[in-house]
C-alpha cells in the first residue's frame, strides 16, 4: 500500500514556520524603510502645488515650443497657487534652474489670477521667457518627479545651474562628508576602546567559577538593561561643568578649573563605550567559552611559553568572537543619535543627527531620506568588506 503523500513537504513546513516573521519583516521593515528611502529621489513638492502643469509638462516631449495645453495648465495652476500664496515656491525652485524664470512665473501667476480667461498668446506675451523654447525645457526639468538633488547634496555635491554638471558645493555648505568621516572615526574609536576593554574582561570572566561568572555577567549586563536615554542623561549629570566628576576633582585640588567633559568628543566617546561594551563583550565571551583550556595546555606541554601559546593558539580561535563583537559595535555606533546629541558639542554630531534635524526642524523628508540612504549604503559597504575578510579568519573552524 502506498503511503499517502504528506500534506506538506518538509520544505513547505519550514516556509510556513518562517512565514509570520517574513510577513512581519515585509510589513514593518522593508516596506516602510523602502518607501522612506524612495523619498530621497522623489520630488513631490511642485507636483502638489501644480499637478496639472506637471502632468502636461511630463506629457510634452520637451522638443521645440510646448503645446497650448501646457501653457493653459501653467495659467490655471499658477492662478490657483497664487491664491494660496504658493506660487513663490514654484518661482524659487524654477529660479534654481534659471533665474530669469522667477519674475516670469510671478508675473504669470499674478496675471492669471487677475484674469483666469487669459489666452495662450497673452500668456506667452507676458515675458520674453515664455517665447524661449529652452526656458520651457528647463521648466520641464524643474517639474521632474524624480531628482538627484537630495542625494547629491548628501554627498556635498550639486548640479551646476548652467551646465547641469555635478560640482562640489561651496566649502561653507559642505557638511555631510565631514560628518560621515566623523561618524566613521568616532565609531572606530569606540569599537577599538570596547575591544581593548572587553577582550581581557571576557578572558577573566570565562575563567571564574559558575557563581562568580554569573555575578560578573550581571555587572557587565547591567548597563544593557537600562535605557540609552537614561544612561546618556546620567553621564550628563556626572560629567557636566559643575557635575560630580569635576566637583570631586576640584575639591581634591587635582584640577583648578572644570574640565570640559561634556559637549565634547571625549564625553561622547566615553558614554558610547559604556553603552556598547556589552555588545562587544558578549560575542567574545561566548566564543571564549567554547574554546577549551586543553588547547592552551597542549600548546604549553608542547613547549610554548604562555604568551606564545596565547598568541598562536588561543587568540586565533577567539577571533570569530572578536570579529562579531567589533562588527556589531561598529555598525551600531554608525547610527548613534541620542548620546552625541546629549553629550556632544555641535562639532560632535554624527550622521543620524542630520536625519533627525531634517525630519524635525526642516520637515524636509527628502533630505532626511537622502542622508539616511547614505548611512545605509556606507553600513552595507562596510559590512560587505567585513564579510569578505572575516571568513578568512573563520577558516579556523575547518
Amino acid at each position: 500500500m502506498a503511503t499517502p503523500a504528506p500534506f506538506l513537504s518538509a520544505r513547505g513546513k519550514l516556509v510556513l514556520l518562517a512565514l509570520p516573521m517574513l510577513l512581519f519583516m515585509l510589513l514593518f521593515f522593508f516596506i516602510p524603510v523602502g518607501s522612506l528611502l524612495v523619498r530621497a529621489v522623489q520630488d513631490p513638492e511642485l507636483g502638489a502645488i501644480a499637478p496639472n502643469l506637471q502632468r502636461e509638462l511630463r506629457a510634452w516631449d520637451g522638443q521645440g515650443t510646448p503645446p497650448d495645453s501646457v501653457v493653459l495648465a501653467l495659467r490655471d495652476d499658477l492662478a490657483a497657487a497664487q491664491k494660496d500664496r504658493r506660487a513663490a515656491i514654484v518661482a524659487k525652485r524654477a529660479a534654481e534652474a534659471d533665474p530669469k524664470l522667477r519674475p516670469a512665473i510671478m508675473d504669470a501667476a499674478k496675471a492669471s489670477l487677475a484674469d483666469p480667461q487669459l489666452s495662450v498668446q497673452a500668456v506667452l506675451n507676458l515675458d520674453p521667457v515664455w517665447r524661449d523654447a529652452a526656458c520651457w525645457t528647463r521648466l520641464r526639468d524643474v517639474f521632474a518627479p524624480f531628482t538627484d538633488r537630495y542625494l547629491l547634496s548628501a554627498l556635498d555635491l550639486k548640479r551646476d545651474r548652467d551646465t547641469q554638471e555635478i560640482v562640489k558645493v561651496a566649502p561653507d555648505q559642505a557638511i555631510f562628508l565631514a560628518t560621515l568621516q566623523r561618524t566613521l572615526g568616532v565609531s572606530l574609536a569606540v569599537t577599538l576602546i570596547c575591544l581593548l576593554l572587553a577582550y581581557p574582561l571576557a578572558y577573566v570572566v570565562v575563567r571564574q567559577g559558575p557563581v562568580m561568572q554569573a555575578l560578573m555577567l550581571t555587572f557587565v549586563m547591567l548597563p544593557f538593561w537600562t535605557s540609552i536615554l537614561v544612561r546618556s542623561a546620567a553621564w550628563l549629570v556626572l560629567l557636566q561643568t559643575h557635575g560630580v566628576v569635576n566637583e570631586t576633582l576640584m575639591s581634591l585640588s587635582i584640577i583648578s578649573e572644570p574640565l570640559k567633559l561634556v559637549y565634547s568628543r571625549s564625553g561622547t566617546i566615553l558614554a558610547m563605550v559604556h553603552i556598547q561594551l556589552p555588545f562587544t563583550f558578549l560575542p567574545i565571551y561566548s566564543v571564549m567559552k567554547s574554546v577549551p583550556d586543553s588547547y592552551v595546555r597542549a600548546a604549553q606541554s608542547l613547549g610554548a611559553k604562555p604568551f606564545y601559546a596565547f598568541r598562536r593558539i588561543y587568540l586565533p580561535q577567539t577571533l570569530p568572537g572578536v570579529a562579531a563583537g567589533c562588527l556589531l559595535t561598529f555598525i551600531l555606533c554608525l547610527g548613534y543619535y541620542i548620546t552625541p546629541a546629549l553629550l556632544g558639542g555641535p562639532a560632535d554630531q554624527l550622521l543620524s543627527y542630520y536625519v533627525a534635524y531634517y525630519l524635525n526642524q526642516e520637515v524636509n523628508w527628502s533630505m532626511a531620506s537622502a542622508v539616511a540612504l547614505m548611512l545605509l549604503v556606507v553600513t552595507l559597504v562596510i559590512y560587505t568588506i567585513y564579510a569578505r575578510f572575516v571568513p578568512v579568519l573563520r577558516q579556523v573552524e575547518g
Binding site: 595546555r297 600548546a299 606541554s301
Partner: protein, 359 residues
C-alpha cells in the same frame, strides 16, 4: 633493574584543602617503560598525570626527573609530550602545522621541521593528510595526529590521558597494538592513564592500580591478574566470584575457609589468623563444572548462560544465594546445558585467593 627515571616522593594533592585526590604517593617510573595508571574515575590517576605534565603542582611532596626536582618547572620547560583525552588538536592549524608546532616553538629550522614532521606522520600512517584540518579527519586519524605531535620533538616522557576512549572497539584494539609498537620502536617512556583494564593488560610493561588516591598494587600485567594483592585489585581486574567466610585452619600458604556454601581451600593473599573473616576470590576460567553427583567444592543451580562467541559465561547460584561466574567451552549438541540444572563447582586450591575482610 633499570633505575628510576621519574620519581614521585610523598606526593599529595588536594584541590580544596579537605579531600586529598592523591595521598602520600611514592611512584618510580623506569626509563623506556610503558606504565599504565589504572583505576576507576576519581581514583586520582588523571591528577597524577596533570602533575607530571606541570599543569598542577603537588600540595606536598616532590617529583624528580633524572634526579632533579621539577614540581615548580612550568609545563613548557619539561620536555614532556601529552596526548589529551580529546586530542586537543589545534583546529585552526593543519595536520602538518599541528605536528610541527612543538618544533616551531623550539625554533627548529623550516626544512628540518618539514622533514621530521613528514617522517613522524609516515610513522603513524598519515602521510597523505598533511594539508587537512583536524575537523576533516576521522577520530582514529585525529588520534594519530595527536600521537605524532606528542612524539615528534623526542620528549623525555610521553603522557597519555585515556587517548583511546573515543574510538570504537575494533579501532581501539588496533591502536593499542600500534601505540605499543611505536613506543618500543622509539624507546620512549610512556605513562598511560585508563580505566579500561583490558587496555592496561594488553599494553603495559607495568600496571599501577589506583583507588582513593593510593596505589593498590604495581606490577607487570600477569602478576596483577594472577596474584592480586588485595580485594580491590582482584575485583577491578578481570571477573571474580566471591565467597565470604571464616578461616578455620591454616596450612602454610594455604588456609581453609568455612563459608555457608561449604569448606573452601584458598591461598592467603596476606598472613591470616585463625577465625579471621575473609573473602575468597575465584576467577571464572579457573572453575570446573562437574556433574551433580561428582564431589565438588561448592554446588549451584544454573541460572543464566551468556553466549560470547568462542565461549559461554555461566551464572550459577549457590544454595545460600551467592552468584558464581564460570567460563565454559561451547557445549556439544548432545549435552546442552539446561537452566535450572544443578552442578558441582570445583577448582584447584591455589586458584582461590583469600583476602582479609574488616570485621
Amino acid at each position: 633493574m633499570t633505575e628510576a627515571f621519574v620519581s614521585l616522593r610523598g606526593v599529595s594533592k588536594s584541590y580544596d584543602g579537605l579531600v586529598r585526590v592523591v595521598e602520600q604517593l611514592d611512584l618510580d617510573i623506569r626509563q623506556k617503560e610503558f606504565l599504565t595508571l589504572l583505576g576507576p574515575s576519581g581514583s586520582g590517576k588523571t591528577t597524577i598525570l596533570t602533575m607530571l605534565a606541570g599543569f598542577e603542582t603537588p600540595s606536598s611532596g616532590e617529583i624528580y626527573m633524572s634526579g632533579k626536582p621539577i614540581s615548580h618547572v612550568p609545563p613548557h620547560g619539561r620536555n614532556i609530550g601529552v596526548v589529551f583525552q580529546n586530542y586537543a588538536l589545534f583546529p585552526h592549524l593543519t595536520v602538518a602545522q599541528n605536528v610541527g608546532f612543538p618544533l616551531e616553538v623550539r625554533g627548529v629550522a623550516q626544512s628540518e621541521r618539514e622533514k621530521r614532521v613528514r617522517d613522524m606522520l609516515e610513522m603513524v600512517g598519515l602521510s597523505q593528510h598533511v594539508a587537512r584540518y583536524p575537523a576533516q579527519l576521522s577520530g582514529g586519524q585525529q588520534q594519530r595526529v595527536a600521537l605524532a605531535r606528542a612524539l615528534v620533538f623526542h620528549p623525555d616522557l610521553v603522557l597519555m590521558d585515556e587517548p583511546l576512549g573515543a574510538l570504537d572497539n575494533a579501532l581501539r584494539k588496533r591502536m593499542q597494538i600500534e601505540i605499543k609498537a611505536l613506543q618500543r620502536r622509539l624507546g620512549v617512556t610512556v605513562v598511560f592513564v585508563t580505566h579500561d583494564q583490558g587496555e592496561a593488560l594488553v599494553m603495559s610493561d607495568r600496571v599501577a592500580v589506583f583507588d582513593k588516591g593510593r596505589i593498590q598494587q604495581i606490577a607487570p600485567p600477569q602478576e596483577i591478574y594472577a596474584r592480586p594483592s588485595n580485594a580491590f585489585v582482584a575485583e577491578f581486574i578481570g571477573e571474580t566470584s566471591w565467597f565470604l567466610g571464616e578461616v578455620s585452619a591454616i596450612e602454610g600458604e594455604e588456609c581453609v575457609v568455612d563459608t555457608p556454601a561449604g569448606k573452601i581451600r584458598a591461598r592467603a593473599a596476606s598472613p591470616l589468623q585463625q577465625g579471621a573473616l575473609v573473602r575468597v576470590a575465584v576467577r571464572p576460567e579457573d572453575i570446573n563444572l562437574v556433574g551433580p553427583d561428582t564431589p565438588a567444592t561448592v554446588r549451584g543451580v544454573l541460572e543464566d548462560t551468556t553466549y560470547l562467541g568462542d565461549h559461554l559465561m555461566l551464572t550459577l547460584r549457590t544454595a545460600i544465594g551467592t552468584a558464581v561466574s564460570v567460563k565454559a567451552p561451547k557445549p556439544g549438541q548432545s549435552n546442552p546445558l539446561r537452566v535450572g540444572e544443578e552442578f558441582g563447582l570445583s577448582w584447584e586450591a591455589h586458584h582461590a585467593v583469600a583476602f582479609a575482610e574488616e570485621r
